[in-house]
């Protein structure tokens, strides 16, 4: 599974566990408007660290914080390069 697919699948999994309905997961989706709260994103980031072996949001030297889903996926893809 690609990094993008892993992330999308983890977002759907956490939304399902928390009984949250998600709209279309497009790259321009603003994360804070996705229907998931910060605790749910915290869970997603922790699980991605376990499955992908990295937490680029903590490790990031330049401190780029994701606003959209596209930013979020991009940070993980850049970290894997």
């Amino acid at each position: 599974m690609s990094i993008r697919e892993t992330i999308i699948s983890q977002i759907r999994q956490v939304a399902k566990e928390q009984n949250k309905k998600l709209g279309p997961l497009t790259d321009d989706l603003v994360l804070l408007e996705s229907g998931l709260d910060s605790l749910e994103f915290a869970i997603i980031v922790a699980r991605l660290e376990d499955s992908l072996g990295s937490d680029p949001l903590s490790a990031s030297e330049d401190g780029n914080f994701p606003v959209t889903l596209g930013d979020f996926i991009g940070i993980y893809e850049d970290a894997a390069k």
Partner: protein, 464 residues
């Protein structure tokens, strides 16, 4: 600190060079400092509140600010009531602070306030009656952020609350303050006092306003100094509206500021001073660090200015003119015999820098919400196969921390551990947690282990 000729907030306002250029703003409107110098917001009830122990319990922060300005130096005691108190917590506040008067805003019911007079405060300022009331040094009572238990009542006065505020804070170019904090707690109150003493405007938040809307409002007012917890900032930086402010000064305090949030703030606001500070309701302001690195340099220990810091048994202790006097009601002493406040925050020295490890009590801060590990362990231990458990924090870039649990299972004769059996038990434990615990307290991972570290006292090591 207070200018020497100011003994109350009202007098501090009188000393502002240009009060007509300073405002307190909220979502509904604004109040100009000039109008507050000789105005009243209490419907002519000020004299009735003179000498009383007054609970300030308004919905809006702006109304609280107006009441504090008018009552400081007049009331015997001011008790700042945060918006989220339960009725049980309010009862203990009434008893321990000897409340005999309350200031509300016009929207609130007054029926549940027994044995005390009530006055309504509003933002329509009318000229004050000019009556000569006895002036006194008012006691200020702040509540610690208790969870479910009764909050502690911390006694300050205006001198201790303003001890960390330097005259140089009134900078050459105008400051406009903004804060995600509520001014009814210590961190937010510091900002209100800085604004008043420094002759600067302040943009107040509103509990029903979204973070994005508050950021946009800060941007419209041209905010220069913005303060919040790392949790506030992590949320803010995920908002598109974070681009609508261009502050000169950005500060985090109230939780551990880790390197990732400091880096993120530096990246977002490259022209701003990025500071993080240590302060607590009891200890006052400990320090502010502006080098962009997490933790604080060892040479702060001993003393910087009026504040003395030291580390004892791993815990940070603070003594200064800004530390509170005592707790109201029964309870432990607030200061030790030398006058130091033990903050309960554990630090570790590495390469001439102290790094925060967490609370000695093991309390975990998940996005600003507290989790007592013992509460979660008690729930986990209900599973019949669990022998013992240890709940602890795992670092997280979104909420600061999240909860994880290590669990030792009881051995059952004839049953061998298998991966499949462990998955079933973990799932059952999580089901119990989901049924019994608030969402932020549920462990996001359960690890089945064969041993937990136990200290010489027989207690679990929470900071292994």
């Amino acid at each position: 600190m207070l200018p020497s000729d100011s003994t109350s907030l009202r007098e501090a306002l009188i000393n502002i060079a240009d009060p007509s250029g300073c405002f307190l703003w909220d979502t509904k409107g604004s109040v100009c400092y000039h109008d507050l110098v000789r105005g009243s917001c209490l419907n002519g009830r000020l004299s009735e509140l003179s000498g009383r122990s007054v609970l300030v319990a308004t919905r809006d922060q702006l109304i609280t600010a107006l009441a504090l300005i008018e009552l400081d130096g007049v009331a015997r005691r001011l008790i700042l009531c945060p918006p989220d108190l339960t009725s049980e917590q309010l009862s203990s506040v009434f008893a321990n602070a000897e409340v005999d008067a309350a200031v509300l805003d016009s929207s609130q019911p007054q029926s549940n306030l027994r044995n005390c007079i009530t006055a309504t405060c509003h933002s329509n300022i009318v000229p004050a009656a000019g009556e000569q009331l006895e002036r006194r040094s008012t006691e200020w009572v702040l509540l610690t952020s208790g969870t479910t238990s009764a909050p502690k009542l911390v006694l300050h006065n205006l001198s201790s609350l303003t001890a960390a505020i330097k005259h140089s804070d009134s900078a050459a170019s105008p400051i406009i303050w903004g804060t995600f904090y509520d001014i009814r707690r210590y961190g937010g109150l510091q900002i209100l006092l800085r604004a008043i003493l420094g002759g600067a405007s302040l943009v107040l938040s509103d509990m029903e306003e979204s973070l994005g809307d508050y950021l946009a409002r800060l941007g419209r007012h041209g905010v220069t100094h913005v303060l919040g917890t790392p949790t506030h900032w992590r949320r803010a930086l995920m908002s598109p509206a974070a681009r609508e402010i261009a502050p000169r000064y950005v500060r985090s305090s109230g939780e551990i500021a880790d390197q990732s949030i400091l880096n993120a703030l530096r990246f977002f606001y490259p022209d701003a001073v990025i500071a993080h500070a240590f302060a607590s309701t009891e200890a006052g302001v400990g320090f502010s660090v502006e080098d962009g690195l997490e933790g604080f340099p060892d040479d702060l220990l001993g003393g910087v200015g009026d504040v003395e810091l030291k580390v004892e048994q791993g815990s940070l202790l603070v003594r200064s003119a800004g530390t509170a006097m005592r707790y109201l009601g029964t309870g432990p002493a607030l200061r030790n015999e030398q006058g130091f406040v033990d903050t309960g925050d554990l630090v570790e020295l590495r390469n001439d820098r102290h790094y925060f490890l967490g609370r000695r009590s093991g309390v975990i801060n998940v996005g600003g919400l507290k989790v007592h590990p013992e509460e979660v362990e008690t729930v986990i231990n209900r599973h019949p196969r669990v022998r013992m458990s240890l709940v602890r924090a795992r670092k997280n870039p979104i909420t600061g921390s999240i909860v994880i649990a290590n669990v030792i299972l009881k051995e059952e004769p004839g049953q061998r551990a298998t991966a499949n059996r462990d998955v079933v038990i973990k799932d059952e434990i999580l089901q119990i947690c989901r049924a019994k615990l608030a969402k932020h307290k549920i462990p996001i991972a359960i690890n089945i282990v064969t041993a937990l570290a136990i200290g010489t006292s027989g207690k679990l090591y929470r900071h292994a």
